[in-house]
Amino acid sequence: MSISFSSQIVIEYQHFDQLFAALSELGYKIAAPTVREGAIVYDEVTSVHELPCGWTDVQNAGGYELQKRADNALFGYNVGPHSWKKFLHPPSLKLWEAQKNEQGFEICPEVNEVPRYAFIGVRSCELHAIKIQDRVFMEGPYVDSTYEKRRKESFIVAVNCGQAGETCFCSSMNTGPQVSEGFDLALSEVMEEEKHYFVVSVGSIEGQALLEKIVHREARAEEIQLAMDTVDEAREQMGRSVDTFNIQSLLIDNHDHARWEEVAERCLSCGNCTMVCPTCFCTAVEDVTDLTGEKAQRVRRWDSCFTMDFSYLHGGSVRSSVKSRYRQWLTHKFSTWIDQFGSSGCVGCGRCITWCPVGIDVTEEITHICDKDKNDGIT
């Protein structure tokens, strides 16, 4: 059978491990969801057995818990604390090393070995997050070579969400739950009675070629329908929503809203929301020297706009209050990001809500700050 981009293919559950074998054979390092220390994280795996088979997550504002499912679903959960940015935009990256010499010093650029990653189980919101970071790192006046190399080498196996979490709001951000583009292969996991299979769409020539190496067959109309039904279920379960109408100007106009002060009283300024966010890209550029003073190196590591150092200028911080730092984060994400990169910086994955230690809910804050009918909050 020949596979075309419009074909819908079925891979049976018992053949799914062939996907891992085929990717390994092509030299890919496989990164996939796996259970570590009570959470589903993304890490390098070698076989299908490392996936969170039969696990699900229960999420709410400031809460995350794994639970056993009644079935052996491989993708029966939502997003955890990790996102794929840890592979594409590494948390810490050495940029170069400098060595003292007789005349002064010389600089040796770091030749970072670029792993070829295959990402398995990329959700629709996460595909949108990757596209957003593409604009930051590859579509501006300067191209970030590390990101670009990693990105161009990656193979993406997306998965449609069959359920939505309590903190999910991708429907509001138009980023899911249905996978639309930017993948090599896209899966829907279907379980009916005794059957367990994946309905697969093809998104690239590479995806098409890979499928040829895996036992598959053409999907039947009712199987395609069942796959679509699972996404509809996720859409109906969406735990949160947010009204994005006019949000770009409303956030700017409500710069002095009393709610900023109120949320600042709860916010710990810990930066968790920026660490778990799949689009937050800010970094610190650090120069460090070894103890002998002979060698120095420059390292780029993830930074957060919630730290005091972030806006340091002339002996002080431009944003010294928690209020101004929370406002910077939220306004950047939902408003000025649009000016800068042509889209919202939020994909509605809900991680910032789940992983906030005090359960601050960005959708709730936006509702208060952008409420056009209520002027009582304007100071």
Binding site: K100, F105, I107, V136, L313, S324, R327
Partner: protein, 275 residues
């Protein structure tokens, strides 16, 4: 030039001279030939001192000069304090030039008003060089320069030459101990009606935000259009190419959208507290 924007090129200090008690000017030559990249007035470089760190510094030299790169630096932090100890022959890392520049082309045929406060004269000096070299392209040219005291005045040996081509006025905030016979008071006091036509002038302002704020207020009062006022902004800059996020100023990145902004484009953000 290396393609990686984060990797500095090595330069050698050719001249090092103190302009004031805390400010010095470095002239640098590239260790490898053909590395001096052309720049525009108002652009900046990231300057790296081995084992200490990196800071953004505006270029204060002449764009037409290709034999050396000139930076005027005030020793105020860890890196700039260490740089103040540099000697001829020592090495620095340079990457750049980065950022937007003063509107020297849009200003042709118009009156020019440059307003500088303190070290803010350094990023405007390339404009002065350009105007003097192309004097016939511009109408009345006025430079208003304010500093804290006469001990803080930059480039005094060049004033006489400048005064032959343009109207150069200086003021100091305090000049009480008899060593200063010139203007005393804030730089905005030097803005006068006869120096420029409000509807045919290009204004470039560089200095502390509070000084730029009062200068702009005075200019607007005199009916200069917001579109004709340019300012140079400063924020924390670490990468200089728009990745690190530190220099965000409302929707702008100071490193790549600035540091020179048309006031009309940032008026909503300007002086907004903790933006």
């Amino acid at each position: 030039m290396r393609s990686d924007p984060m990797c500095p090129n090595i330069y050698t200090v050719e001249k090092m001279a103190y302009d004031t008690h805390d400010t010095f000017t470095l002239e640098l030559v590239a260790q490898q030939e053909n590395q001096i990249v052309s720049f525009m007035p108002g652009q900046f470089n990231m300057m790296y001192l081995f084992g200490v760190g990196e800071v953004p510094i505006s270029i204060s030299g002449d764009c037409e000069r290709r034999d050396a790169l000139t930076h005027t630096i005030r020793a105020v932090g860890t890196v700039t304090n260490e740089m103040s100890k540099l000697q001829v022959g020592q090495h620095l890392g340079i990457r750049g030039p980065y950022g937007s520049y003063w509107p020297i082309h849009d200003a042709t045929g118009k009156d020019i008003l440059l307003i500088a406060g303190g070290i803010g004269l350094a990023p405007l000096r390339p404009v002065i060089y350009h105007i003097i070299a192309n004097r016939s392209s511009y109408n009345n040219v006025t430079v208003l320069y304010g500093a804290r005291s006469c001990k803080d005045l930059l480039y005094q040996q060049q004033w006489e030459e400048w005064q032959q081509s343009l109207n150069f006025k200086v003021t100091v905030d305090s000049g009480s101990n008899g060593d200063w016979n010139g203007h005393v008071g804030v730089v905005t006091n030097l803005i006068t009606r006869k120096d420029f036509a409000p509807h045919n002038v290009m204004v470039m302002v560089c200095g502390p935000e509070i000084m730029m704020h009062f200068s702009i207020r005075e200019l607007l009062r005199r009916e200069v259009k917001m579109d004709d006022i340019y300012v140079s902004m400063e924020r924390n800059m670490q990468c200089a190419v728009g990745y690190c996020g530190h220099c965000q100023y409302g929707a702008k990145f100071v490193c790549k959208d600035g540091p020179v902004f048309c006031y009309a484009d940032i008026q909503d953000s300007f002086r907004k507290r903790e933006l």
